[in-house]
């Protein structure tokens, strides 16, 4: 219970409101597919079975949830300081490029050396990328939301430049792609599953950062900064160092997503990395109310919806974009449910517990 609220009532509130919002969005989505002539109940059933109905669909879901967990951390961690960072897309790409680069300079090294080097390279490149936004925020007052958005586009242009020229593998014809990191350097599957080890990185990343933010002095100081920067400064909290380090960790998470996308899925960098993991991750973070632990189930839920897309087309003759509409409706309804927190009589105690993990609206 302490994971969510602080009090049992707080925990109940933190579970009931998103569940209620989810129910409302499912009803809206049902009306939407009914207008398209499909049977809403049948569509729900298909989505459930496509996402969580069998071991096979579970594995597909977990596979898709993996990058979302890591990119969500890129927004969730700085949010504790009151920063809105939307740079996961760029950090993922930069991490992926660094992964390819480091693998190419270690041709003869052992499997584990290369994998360790790739992970370190991806994390440090992604960390520096978002750390730049954090540094500019603290030292120059440059707004981190806009700078991280700009850095996304700079990262995409940089990748297009590199995979179209200096890092291009001329043997790949269908789209400009970088060299392959080498089949023997690929990160394998978790034994007994059809899911790669990236899932473990994602889950461990969420747990470690949760402990860091919730149970250490560092996290406590970060939350003070998020509450009131001036008060934090008065109390002697090193705001600049906290901002920088938090952004470094946040970027490292997204950079690690880049590493796993390369070393466990694609093998090479190309535009197939730019599929919006970064932007979906932002919403995962907001739906998880910036709580790193809650990121895990939210990412799995969204990964599941994604996984069910193909089935809707096959069984209900709905376009595969139907799941995108569903995702959009869920996001909008959950964001619109934010004001309900602290307003429902059932969850109130004599002393109102502060809602945990929400980004103060005026804090950006």
């Amino acid at each position: 219970m302490r994971l969510l609220g602080g009090s049992p009532r707080g925990a109940a509130e933190a579970l009931t409101i998103p569940a209620g919002a989810l129910a409302v969005s499912l009803i809206l989505f049902g009306i939407f597919v009914a207008l398209a002539g499909a049977n809403p109940l049948g569509v729900y059933e298909t989505i459930y079975s496509g996402a969580f109905g069998s071991w096979f669909s579970w594995q597909n879901t977990l596979q898709r949830a993996t990058p979302l967990m890591l990119t969500a951390l890129c927004t969730a961690l700085p949010a504790r300081l009151g920063l809105v960072v939307i740079g996961a897309e760029g950090a993922l790409i930069i991490g992926a490029l660094a992964t390819v680069a480091i693998a190419s300079v270690l041709p003869g090294a052992s499997h584990w050396t290369v994998i360790t080097a790739m992970m370190l390279a991806g994390m440090s490149a992604g960390g520096l990328w978002v750390g730049l936004a954090g540094g500019l925020r603290y030292y120059r007052g440059v707004n981190e939301t806009i700078s991280s958005l700009l850095l996304n586009y700079i990262a995409i242009a940089l990748m297009n430049h590199l995979v179209g020229g200096p890092m291009r593998d001329p043997l790949v014809l269908h789209r400009p792609s970088s060299w392959h990191v080498g089949e023997r350097n690929m990160i394998g599957l978790i034994p007994g599953m059809d899911v790669h080890w990236g899932l473990v990185f994602g889950v461990v990343g969420c747990i470690v950062t949760y402990v860091l933010m919730q149970h250490t002095v560092f996290g406590f100081a970060a939350r003070i900064v998020g509450g009131n920067v001036r008060a934090a400064r008065m109390a002697g909290v090193p705001v600049g160092r906290l901002t920088l380090v938090t952004c470094l960790i946040a970027g490292a998470a997204a950079g690690l997503a880049g590493t796993t996308e390369i070393a466990a899925v694609h093998g090479r960098a190309s535009t197939s990395l730019v599929v919006g993991y970064g932007y979906t991750g932002i919403l995962v973070a907001f739906l998880a109310r910036q709580n790193p632990l809650a990121v895990i189930p939210v990412a799995i839920l969204l990964g599941g919806i994604d996984a069910a897309g193909g089935l809707l087309q096959r069984w209900h003759d709905l376009p595969d974009a139907t799941v995108h509409v569903m995702r959009g409706i869920i996001f909008l309804v959950i964001l619109a449910s934010e004001p309900v927190y602290g307003r429902l009589r059932v969850f109130q105690q004599s002393v109102v517990a502060p809602s945990n993990g929400a980004v103060p609206r005026e804090a950006a």
């Binding site: 440059v142 700079i154 932007y279 932002i282 995108h324 995702r327 619109a336």
Partner: protein, 306 residues
């Protein structure tokens, strides 16, 4: 290009800038209006694609591209109204709502737009300002689409309206200090609703340009992120509609520089030119931001300038 040699490069960039800047122009004018009222709408990317889809669909079904433009704008208004009404609720983050609307708009456009990927719809007209020239390059460069001309008139018009009309005063007052505006009797949420709806209308029109003029067809990869870039562009233009026009031309021209240089044999660094506007915007922000004060010209209610 042979006839003109190197002169073909600036000419092609000019033509490309006018063509490429039109969606930037409309989206940024819309975003400028919304941000002036104190809210940021990152959902304009979804609005743009929704506008492209609906404009194309209506033009195909009715045979009238201008009706398509109008419907595209109307779709933008609806999405803008959704953004504004969710953001009007307490403690809701406008950036998150924008991203949710971006994903929703993209999803809805792909969902509804499936039947329109194949057919050909009537396109918007252009005015051949290069009729006097023999050279096909000059003619191509000076063929100016009508929407660009409308946008070019709209930009100074909006600037004038912002500073010389009651509506403009209301938007600026609400964007600079919501509490003070409330004391003056303005309905803050309603002004922001109108600002966001009007912004959505313009962004929707910008989307219809993509499908009805250039590239001139509807497909799921029609936008290359112009809707999100508009946010950077507005900052680059310092929340000034007239400067938005020049910034849009600059962003459009930067996109046209790569292909133009490619046509005279310079192929390296093609994509780096595409990054130029973002690097420039970032450098501008670094140079002018300060930890002590907000950006000059910025609406002080805007979350991203605090």
């Amino acid at each position: 290009m042979e006839a003109l040699g190197w002169w073909g490069v600036p000419l092609a960039v000019l033509g490309g800038a006018i063509r490429g800047s039109t969606p930037f122009l409309f989206v940024s004018l819309g975003e400028c209006l919304t941000e002036k009222s104190g809210r940021i709408n990152l959902g304009l990317e979804g609005t743009l694609v929704m506008g492209a889809m609906s404009g194309y669909g209506v033009s195909y079904l009715t045979g009238s591209p201008w009706l398509g433009v109008l419907v595209a704008g109307t779709c933008g208004m609806v999405l803008g109204a959704v953004h504004a009404s969710i953001c009007a609720r307490p403690r809701v983050n406008d950036i998150a709502v924008g991203i949710a609307l971006m994903l929703f708009g993209l999803g809805l456009a792909f969902y509804l737009g499936k039947p329109f990927i194949q057919p050909n719809a009537p396109r918007l007209p252009a005015i051949p300002f290069g009729w006097w020239s023999e050279s096909p390059q000059v003619r191509a460069a000076l063929e100016v689409n009508v929407l660009f001309l409308i946008g070019a008139v709209l930009a100074p018009g909006l600037l004038w309206a912002l500073y010389n009309t009651r509506w403009g005063l209301a938007i600026r007052a609400v964007g600079d200090n919501a509490d003070a505006a409330r004391t003056m009797g303005y309905a803050v949420d309603r002004v922001r609703l109108l600002g966001t709806v009007a912004g959505g209308f313009l962004a929707g029109i910008g989307g219809s340009f993509l499908s009805l003029y250039y590239p001139g067809s509807w497909n799921e990869a029609i936008s290359s992120g112009q809707g999100l870039m508009a946010v950077a562009l507005v900052i680059f233009a310092r929340w000034d509609p007239l400067l938005c026009l020049f910034a849009a031309l600059l962003f459009g021209g930067a996109g046209a520089l790569g292909p133009a240089l490619q046509s005279v044999g310079i192929t390296s660094g093609y994509y780096l030119f595409n990054a130029a506007p973002y690097v420039l915007t970032l450098l501008l922000m670094i140079a002018t931001s300060s930890t002590q004060r907000t950006l000059k010209g910025a609406p002080s209610e805007l979350s991203v300038t605090k």
